[in-house]
């Protein structure tokens, strides 16, 4: 039993933190958030050199992980990127890399993985029309067109689509079920519109497919299983980002409570504040344990991997949103201002709550798994 990170992973953490502090801290993100280009491809490529998109790419395609548990390595990165509310396509790039490595042909792997690993390609995942991970919500339709595919329809709430050079597109197929296609961007008939969004430190887009054609070789075999896998990886990585962000915000809130004086005392000396901070620490540690175990279980293929992922999805982002709300309240007036960073965390949390299945979706998934494990005679 060693439910903690190893030395190599701690080194990865400190390297990443130093890099972000120097090159893309939250202060930097803040400066660029009201500009059209939030994404910085130079920093992204430097990050790629540090392994941001290489962990799930096999060595023969220029990838490689720090330990034998690449998903756990990625948790370290995700936490650090989350701390600074990094705008980059960390989740979709790793989701795509994993999907291609797992489900792709050798040709697909050769074409895409080295470029993803080097940060030259960035990708986005076009999942559905309303953002929910339900087959019935998929609104891009794929039909056969000669040897290839023709795409019509729309995907919405797609993170980093407007910066991507590769789209992983989930579409309803000509038969029942879905097909997943690798679509280069730009392509003829492919347009996107960036949303005016709640989260000021990330950009989401609506992506339109008006007769976009791709060759048959663009298909990633596996159908809905690809979606399930992508969803699991995305859930784990986003949970880890949320843990990092929540940890940063919580620490800042505790520090503020130690300094801010009201009624002649630091507010951190008021017991009601102390107990609320204690509650937030409890939630934060719960978030952390859930995210870490989910990465371990999914990465190592443990028998309870599905439950572990659903647990992270059911708990982490809702807890992050609660923590962020409490952080504003505990900051009081200053936390309500535009200039203070706390609202950026609130916005990030609110959007994380509804991406890749919201808490209710994952709780429903979790009870189904528990039901399947409960003898019909009924538990007792």
């Amino acid at each position: 039993m060693d439910f903690g990170f190893g030395e190599d992973q701690e080194l990865l953490r400190s390297t990443t933190r130093r890099f972000l502090t120097e090159h893309q801290s939250l202060a930097d993100v803040r400066r660029s958030m009201e500009e059209p280009d939030l994404f910085d491809p130079v920093v992204w490529r430097q990050g790629a050199d540090l392994g941001w998109t290489a962990m799930l790419v096999p060595a023969e395609h220029e990838g490689g992980s720090v330990t034998g548990q690449p998903l756990v390595d990625l948790v370290v990165l995700a936490e650090e990127l989350g701390r600074e509310l990094n705008p980059g396509p960390f989740v979709p790039c790793n989701v795509s890399a994993d999907a291609i490595a797992r489900f792709g042909t050798e040709v697909q792997a050769k074409e895409h993985l080295p470029r993803l690993a080097r940060g030259e390609t960035t990708s986005a995942w076009c999942l559905s029309g309303d953002g929910s991970p339900e087959p019935s919500a998929v609104e891009v339709r794929a039909s056969r067109s000669g040897d290839g595919w023709r795409l019509e329809g729309v995907a919405r709430y797609v993170h980093a689509a407007a910066d991507a050079t590769l789209l992983l597109v989930t579409a309803t197929g000509p038969e029942s079920g879905v097909v997943n296609l690798l679509v280069p961007r730009p392509s003829a008939g492919l347009t996107d519109r960036v949303l005016t969004g709640l989260d000021l430190t990330r950009r989401f887009a609506e992506v339109h497919f008006d007769g976009v054609t791709v060759p048959g070789a663009a298909e990633l075999a596996g159908g809905w299983a690809v979606v399930e896998r992508c969803l699991s990886v995305a859930t784990v990585l986003q949970a880890a980002e949320s843990v990092g962000a929540a940890d940063h915000l919580f620490t800042a809130t505790v520090e503020y409570a130690k300094k801010r004086v009201q009624f002649g005392r630091t507010i951190g000396s008021f017991q009601a504040i102390k107990h609320r901070l204690a509650n937030l620490l409890i939630e934060l540690e719960g978030m952390r344990a859930a995210a870490h175990y989910a990465a371990l279980a999914l990465g190592d293929g443990l028998p309870d991997a599905d439950e572990a992922v659903a647990t992270a999805g059911a708990y982490v982002d809702d807890a992050f949103a609660h923590l962020a709300g409490e952080a504003i309240q505990l900051h009081g007036g200053i936390g309500f201002t535009w200039e203070h960073d706390v609202h950026l965390f609130v916005r990030r949390a609110k959007v994380n709550q509804v991406l890749y299945g919201d808490g209710a979706w994952h709780r429903e998934r979790l009870i189904r798994l528990v039901e399947a494990a409960t003898a019909p005679s009924g538990g007792a």
Binding site: R156, L195, T196, L198, R265, G332, V354
Partner: protein
């Protein structure tokens, strides 16, 4: 026991029709979008359009009781409130709290000088009560007004002042007497253009600018601008706040619980309309109960106010009930929208032009401004339940 509000007789239909036509004719088209909450225009041009509108209504003979020395016909007053609210444009500019203070404690001259221009939109007022350290615990105010000849000289700082950036006058509480606690406070009329008044608008997390900090650097206020007697400011403020509270009561607009039902009908959860989901139904049913109880708490408070039985716990209790229910409801509204909740005002995907997203961000104003809910809980515990006070630190 009763909560009877008498029905408006049919003989008033003509009054209503005329008024409605008048409003339709004069209602301005603003660049400003009024959102939920205590919101303030961000452009001077919109403020001027609103002044013109309010002036027209006033000059046509429609005057709200709150601004008039003698009460008008009660049915006409209710129709006036209803139609002005339904118009969807502000009809009271600034914070009108001072009107009650002037009516009960002002001199005849103060009343005649300030009430009519306030009613007419000529004078916009702001309220200068809250301070960074005291919240709405008015007894621990630190802004001081020292007597100097015929003037008082004000030094200090206020926060959470709405409309201050557009205001002509401020309703100020400051400490004048050499005693601790409420007995040391007096109320003033402050000309916001006096030298030494520094209004600093704050941009809030909503992205809008609805509140201001106001600094006083030796601002001179003529002694005749005191409302009531020296040291009576606490009573003056209390009376105006009570008058404000008795104005409570379903001030129009669609019931937010019905809005949630509408959202739950229009958005899916697990492939079905969310309104068919048991968890959603239980949640909205719970909100419905608390929302109705909020109304009944208001009815109880109005009753207690009438009987002079208001306690120190009543207003904090109502504030917490409202602000926390509001927060939970807007969070639920966003959750119902799913990923669509990430689109805000101005985006074509947004729901009801982003009112819920704005309401979500603004919700914290209700839980923080005017005394945070933590301070409200202190007041309930200490003044309402008689539990020991929190010790002040040595700062």
């Amino acid at each position: 026991m009763d909560v009877i509000v008498p029905a408006i007789p049919g003989t008033y239909d003509g009054f209503r029709a005329t008024l409605r036509a008048f409003i339709a004719e004069h209602k301005p088209t603003l660049a400003w979008k009024q959102r939920t909450g205590l919101r303030v225009p961000d452009r001077a041009a919109d403020v001027e359009l609103l002044r013109t509108y309010v002036r027209a209504i006033h000059d046509a003979g429609y005057v709200l009781d709150r601004f008039s020395a003698e009460p008008g016909d009660p049915h006409e007053q209710r129709i006036l409130e209803q139609e002005l609210v339904a118009a969807g444009v502000p009809h009271v500019l600034g914070n009108p709290l001072v009107a009650g203070a002037l009516k009960h404690f002002g001199t005849d001259e103060q009343r005649s000088t300030y009430l009519p221009p306030m009613a007419r939109g000529d004078h916009i007022w702001t309220q200068l009560f809250s301070e960074p350290d005291a919240g709405s615990d008015l007894t621990s105010l630190q802004t001081r007004a020292g007597r100097d000849g015929d003037d008082f000289v004000v030094v200090g700082q206020k926060v959470w002042s709405t409309w201050a950036q557009w205001s002509d006058y401020g309703y100020l509480l400051a400490r004048t007497e050499p005693v601790e606690g409420p007995a040391g406070i007096s109320a003033f009329i402050l000309d916001m253009r006096s030298p030494g008044v520094d209004v600093r608008p704050l941009r809030e997390m909503t992205g809008t600018t609805d509140f201001n900090e106001v600094f006083f650097d030796e601002v001179r206020v003529p002694a005749v601008n005191m409302i009531g007697a020296p040291g009576e400011g606490w009573r003056v403020a209390g009376a105006s706040l009570a008058e404000e509270r008795s104005n409570v009561g379903g001030a129009g607009g669609v019931d937010p619980v019905q809005r949630l039902v509408g959202l739950a009908r229009r958005h899916n959860r697990g492939g079905r309309p969310a309104v068919e989901d048991g968890a959603v139904r239980q949640q909205i049913g719970g909100f419905a109960a608390r929302s109705r109880i909020q109304r009944h708490l208001g009815q109880r408070m109005a009753t207690k106010a009438m009987k002079g039985q208001i306690t120190a716990a009543d207003a904090p209790l109502a504030k917490i009930w409202f602000s926390e229910l509001n927060l939970e409801m807007v969070e639920a509204a966003l959750a119902l929208q799913g990923a669509r909740s990430m689109a805000v005002e101005g985006d074509e995907l947004t729901v009801e032009d982003g009112r819920w997203q704005d309401a979500f961000l603004y919700a914290r104003a209700w839980t923080i401004a005017g005394g945070s809910n933590e301070i409200m809980r202190n007041l309930i515990a200490e003044r309402g339940l008689g539990l020991p006070r929190e010790p002040r630190g040595q700062s």
